[in-house]
């Protein structure tokens, strides 16, 4: 019994630690954290301003944006800017083939394929550096320390000043990368808040059940032993 508990504690520690490669400075990455709505709204603004020129977001239905509480006018303006003729059939071409053709991948699920999805996106977007002298870059490639292989065909997309916040401030590249990483985490896992809420409720219910059931069983044993 004791061994079981020790094993469980180790497993628990293990999987809390398991996503620790890379930066983990988003609130929703901790076991009890939820999405920060303002981060995600900001990330949506960054996506529209800098990423939407090339990258699609096919797996995100319009109704999901209602959970961001943007307001009907903002939602209508987002929908109006989407050019339906250019939206391609996601199933027609497998993801990896599209990437090999050096065409921009769809961003809806991009954070799913990495152990630390938001960290990967953040590192990629903030990883552009001047090329080291001894390195030979392929034509049309850029040097990015956050990309596996360090050479990426995507130009640095985040322009400081492309997004203006409500108080007039214009965030820099790091802040924009942080928010767009949070936004893409939301597109990949919109159920995160529900998941943690349901899981947390289940744990509380089971603990209460366990305590009540345990007391019942012990009480019954006490009565039974008394009768013997």
């Amino acid at each position: 019994m004791l061994r079981l508990i020790v094993a469980m504690v180790l497993v628990l520690a293990g999987f809390i630690q398991s996503g620790h490669a890379g930066l983990r400075h988003w609130g929703f990455q901790s076991p009890f954290g939820t999405y920060n709505q303002s981060e995600i709204r900001m990330g949506l603004a960054v996506y529209q301003a800098d990423c939407a020129r090339c990258h699609g977001l096919d797996m995100v239905p319009y109704r999901d944006f209602e959970t961001l509480r943007l307001g009907p006018k903002r939602l209508a303006s987002i929908i109006a800017t989407i050019n339906h003729e250019q939206a391609f059939d996601v199933e027609a071409e497998p993801w990896v083939d599209r990437v090999r053709r050096a065409s921009p991948p769809d961003l809806s699920l991009i954070e799913q394929g990495h152990r630390n999805g938001p960290g990967y996106v953040y590192a990629l977007l903030t990883g552009y550096r001047p090329k080291p002298a001894a390195m030979r870059l392929r034509p049309d490639h850029y040097f990015d320390i956050g990309f596996p292989g360090e050479q990426i065909t995507m130009p640095p997309a985040l322009e400081p000043g492309s997004v203006t916040m409500a108080d007039g401030r214009r965030p820099g590249v790091r802040e924009m990368a942080h928010d767009v990483a949070a936004f893409l985490a939301w597109t990949a896992h919109p159920d995160l808040d529900d998941r943690k809420a349901v899981g947390g409720d289940m744990v509380i219910c089971l603990l209460v059940l366990g305590i009540v059931g345990g007391r019942l069983v012990l009480a019954r044993r006490r009565i039974t032993d008394k009768q013997i």
Binding site: M1, L4, M8, L12, F15, I16, S18, G19, P31, M59, P61, D64, V90, E91, E93, P94, W95, V96, D97, V99, R100, L109, Q112, G113, H114, R115, P190, D191, D194, R195, K196, V198, G199, G200, M202, V203, L206, L207, L209, G210, G213, G214, V217, L218, R220, R221, I223, T224, Q227
Partner: protein
């Protein structure tokens, strides 16, 4: 009416229920005589039943929306999680339900080895348990391939090579499993249907295993074969607390996994849709298959085909009652062999970890050594140690009564 009295059912109700379900429930479940010193792990059979129930129900729902095409499979699952109300929950229940099932099954098997529940009249039950374990792994492998992710695609390609390498039966097995000699458009429909069909077959095998286990002399932690009647108690209410504890711990772990880390134990590269032109750097199956991946790798480095290694490992595992030549069943009274069982357990964990790493250099050596050790344990260590070891005397009556 005191708590100890069992109420006799009125004859009218009994006649109305032609099947006499109440009598069956009482005789085979509530009042069934079990040893009085069973530990928590003896309640894991109930957990297997719960896991199978969760997997079956969530699987039925997932199956309604699943699209068995090469590119469409992963997308259909992602769309199911996004668009169907509580689809994410059903998907997580199925994926993490398989993790929970294998966690429970591995602990159950280890408990069987440790307390000698495979011998002394329980051989048939043990063999059915090993067959059940094999079927679980097969269904789990198929379920993983059905996800359509990058790891899944390349694991299917590896399976294609292993199947066609089987002498005589190879091409026929490839046709049955993959719908052709190579992976193609017929593969996922074949695998999808086989997964569902075998899933239901597994329920039958699990039920058979339960019946076989009940028909055999009851296993107990002391390994006593002939239990005195006063060492047996009706299963409930004696073990109500134990079963409740097991269920609640199971539920807590399940809820924690779904809440915090639903892709626990799954290879991260699998979230990308699989395709022929790109492969993840390291292709790994889910955690419960890693040990067997390691065995296959170790065998291949020695020139033995993968299918042979896996078949041999299951044959040896099932032959354990005959490989164990000792007189004492439970490792409580043969601590030397018990120590080696613990070493086998650690060895399996190290083998699984090593199999998940890129197969170069030091990790390849670790995989080979730990893989070979598994076979050494069953073929050499078990017969030798169980015969030569000095054992403690086994009591005639059970010790450490827990209820």
């Amino acid at each position: 009416m005191s708590l100890n009295e069992r109420s006799a059912s009125p004859p009218i109700r009994e006649a109305a229920f032609g099947l006499r379900l109440r009598e069956v429930y009482r005789r085979y479940w509530r009042d069934y005589p079990v040893p009085a010193n069973l530990k928590l792990t003896w309640s894991f059979g109930v957990l297997v039943a719960v896991s199978l129930g969760v997997l079956t129900l969530s699987g039925i729902w997932l199956g309604m929306y699943y699209r068995p095409t090469m590119g469409g499979a992963g997308l259909s699952i992602a769309q199911f999680s996004h668009d169907v109300p509580l689809g994410w929950l059903i998907h997580d229940l199925h994926r993490d339900g398989s993790t929970m099932l294998f966690g429970v099954v591995y602990v159950e098997l280890l408990r069987g080895i440790r307390y000698g529940s495979y011998r002394n009249g329980r051989e048939r039950a043990w063999i059915i348990e090993v067959v059940r374990f094999f079927m679980f792994l097969w269904v789990g492998l198929y379920g993983f391939i059905m996800t359509g992710g990058a790891d899944a695609y390349w694991i299917a390609r590896a399976m294609e090579r292993h199947l066609t390498a089987v002498p005589l039966l190879g091409p026929a097995m490839a046709h049955i499993c993959l719908g052709g000699l190579l992976i193609g458009n017929a593969t996922l429909p074949h695998i999808g249907f086989a997964h569902e069909a075998m899933g239901f077959l597994v329920l039958l095998i699990a039920a058979l295993g339960f019946a076989a286990s009940r028909a055999a002399p009851p296993a107990n932690p002391d390994g006593i074969v002939a239990l005195q009647p006063d060492n047996l108690v009706p299963q409930f209410p004696a073990y109500t607390g134990t079963v409740l504890t097991a269920l609640i711990l199971f539920g807590l772990i399940f809820a924690a996994i779904i809440a915090v880390s639903p892709s626990l134990g799954q290879p991260p590269g699998n979230e990308i849709i699989g395709a022929p032109l790109g492969a993840p750097v390291t292709v790994t199956p889910p955690w419960f298959l890693l040990g067997f991946q390691g065995l296959i790798e170790a065998g291949q480095r020695l020139g033995v085909a993968g299918w042979f290694t896996v078949t041999a490992s299951f044959v040896l595992f099932g032959a354990l009652p005959w490989l164990d030549r000792g007189t004492v069943a439970s490792c409580r009274y043969r601590p030397l062999y018990g120590g080696f069982v613990w070493v086998l357990q650690m060895n399996w964990i190290v083998l699984s970890i090593a199999a998940a790493q890129p197969a170069t250099g030091a990790w390849a050596l670790v995989t080979t050594v730990t893989g070979i050790y598994c076979f050494v344990h069953f073929l050499i260590l078990t017969p030798l140690i169980t015969v030569l070891e000095p054992t403690h005397p086994v009591p005639l009556r059970i010790t450490q009564r827990t209820v």
